[in-house]
Assembly symmetry: C2
DNA sequence: GATCGCAGCGCAATCGATTGCAGCATGAAA
DNA sequence: TTTCATGCTGCAATCGATTGCGCTGCGATC
């Protein structure tokens, strides 16, 4: 799709001349701009004689013509640009999602405009608006909390979008998620098999759909295997929040639990820190299970047992869904749930007595 | 800059009507579109009477008018979009750079289009071309290896760009870098003060400007303090490459070195792995210094002593430089070097005997 | 009271590409 | 030879906003 921008271009436009336009090509080839447009577009080139197509393409190449995406977008009402909204790109789960999106979009001629909300609803709304001004053809939204109203308004306006890594309950858009419940069940099962009987779940902040889903699954899993399970909510999906929540737990009831399942890897890492400052070892004194299998989960000490979410693939699927939605070929109410898998590493071991 | 996309918009455009245009506003306000344009642009609103400005702005708001950035871009020949080229967004040093860029750009009405080259020159060239087709106003280039030719061609064409996190030797563009030499000197000094006398530098792959600069600085620093320093080149800036390079060293000459300075944190992490598989402890048997202070450098075991590069600030500076360049107010040959600092943590200790 | 200046606004070209429609020429069919 | 179909290409409108130029009318000046 993207035409090669070659050396040959420079020869004809010595020092900073204006860009070569369709009209320039038309003049040199001795035809009308419209004909050039048809000849250069694969879908319409059979409306022009073979001979003319060849001549025009040759001239275009020699002049180093590059189409002006902006002008085309104005006329066709498509910008070939997708807005991607994430909370914070420095959170390690998002780069893989973004790259997954891009890997699907780029070969199809789309680019993605990635913006960060830092968790602010107002920022999200503003960014949403400014992306609309830029005429994006659709959105992929990865902000975990539920700014329902914005989504509903957008849907009413006919804006195309897909949710990724968050539940879409109450939101009228397709969604791509990992099978979080299944992941939590696998984690609980793993711990129970190791002999653990009193489990703690470090849940994410309320308001995030992932927090709720994972916490609910935890409770359900514990009930199913008839095990004590307690849930503590953190204030953020961060290392610091995980550490302070765990600190509180350890300060109060030291030996109540033998294992903790965190709602994501950052919280698990915070748990590591807390254990260390309390002189506890992992996994001997306390087993820890994370969620996401983010970058470096294998490099902490001990390497973190965690549920792997297929973030890259989630990005790919989200992009695929969105393009289908734009093409109008999306079966309504599409929801894609991708399987997750438990990665057992060194942070889980037999329950202490 | 970004106008708020509010609730009120929906009221007037029930279900998926066409977007409100300047002409729509003009018709309702009973004036010419040109007047609306002037009234809505801060810089030109004094060409219109106060009264008319107020009326037009009121109508625009009521109709939920949002400017069409694409159309504007066509006319003004500015897309207010910057192309950002990185090797791989999942490499943890890039998200902070990207966010730094965005933090400067966004408030000024610019958006950034981020693309990944995965280290391929051909991909970089293609992406460069496709971003040009999208009429980006400039580039920020963070690919570490030296695709000189592309840059020189671009410069001859009059394309605006800024390099970040790489040296621009031979490239006719401004550059923003960390003071790598100073960082390496600080690392060597730190190790020498701990009594180390035989140092190893795990250098990045040849071809990356950062590899060369840091390796040169290492050699210079060792010479200055009259210490043995040896350089080993790795094949990539990755954990695996660091591990395998270190494996080779350890397999051959186990006790030749007491400390290693890696060219970045990933290589340092690879070193950790190698030490572990060789039954060596850090820092007791071998001290390790990294470079970058990337995310989680503090969370490995032991926490990594490393040189902190101000990635976010580098992004900010790069964006600032580029906008100055676009505005034509950039002092030629601008080069910005940001100070780095050594963060001493647990991976360095006294030299073993 | 005629002239000048200027504020305010309309006019129309323009940016670069796309596309429905029309016209032309050629060859085939009647 | 006329008619008709068809293939190829030109024409011009269009997308939405910006902007140089020029017109109008009002108040100020001499």
């Amino acid at each position: 799709m993207a035409r090669r921008w070659g050396l040959d271009a420079g020869r004809y436009r010595s020092t900073m001349r204006k860009r070569v336009t369709l009209t320039d090509v038309a003049k040199v080839a001795g035809v009308h701009p419209g004909t050039v447009s048809r000849a250069l577009t694969d879908a319409t080139q059979d409306q022009v004689s073979q001979e003319t197509v060849r001549r025009i393409r040759k001239v275009a190449k020699e002049l180093g013509y590059t189409p002006n995406t902006v002008a085309r977008g104005l006329r066709t009402n498509k910008s070939m640009t997708i807005g991607v909204i994430v909370p914070d790109l420095t959170n390690p789960i998002f780069p893989p999602i973004v790259r997954g999106i891009d890997s699907f979009l780029a070969p199809r001629g789309y680019s993605s405009l990635v913006v960060n909300t830092d968790g602010s609803d107002e920022t999200e709304r503003n960014l949403f608006g400014s992306l609309l001004e830029r005429q994006v053809d659709g959105f992929i939204i990865a902000t975990g909390h539920s700014n329902h109203q914005l989504m509903v308004e957008a849907h009413e306006r006919g804006v195309q979008a897909v949710m990724v890594n968050r539940d879409a309950a109450g939101v009228p858009y397709p969604a791509v998620t990992g099978d979080d419940s299944q992941g939590i069940f696998a984690g609980v099962k793993h711990l129970v098999e190791l002999g653990h009987k009193r489990l703690l779940h470090l849940a994410g902040p309320a308001g995030f759909s992932t927090s709720r889903i994972r916490a609910d699954a935890f409770v359900a899993a514990c009930r199913q295997v008839v095990i004590d399970g307690h849930v503590v909510h953190t204030t953020a999906y961060s290392v610091a929040a995980g550490q302070s929540a765990m600190d509180k737990v350890l300060d109060q009831k030291l030996d109540e639990y033998t294992a903790v399942i965190a709602s994501n890897d950052l919280l698990a890492l915070g748990t590591y820190h807390s254990l260390r400052t309390h002189g506890l070892r992992c996994p001997e004194d306390m087993s820890v299970v994370g969620f996401n299998d983010m970058l470096f989960a294998n490099d902490f000490q001990p390497p973190l047992t965690t549920v792997r979410s297929p973030h890259f693939e989630m990005g790919v699927e989200a992009a695929r869904l969105l393009l289908n939605e734009i093409a109008g070929t999306l079966p309504s109410g599409a929801r894609v749930t991708l399987p997750v898998s438990l990665i057992v590493r060194g942070s889980t071991g037999p329950a202490r007595k």
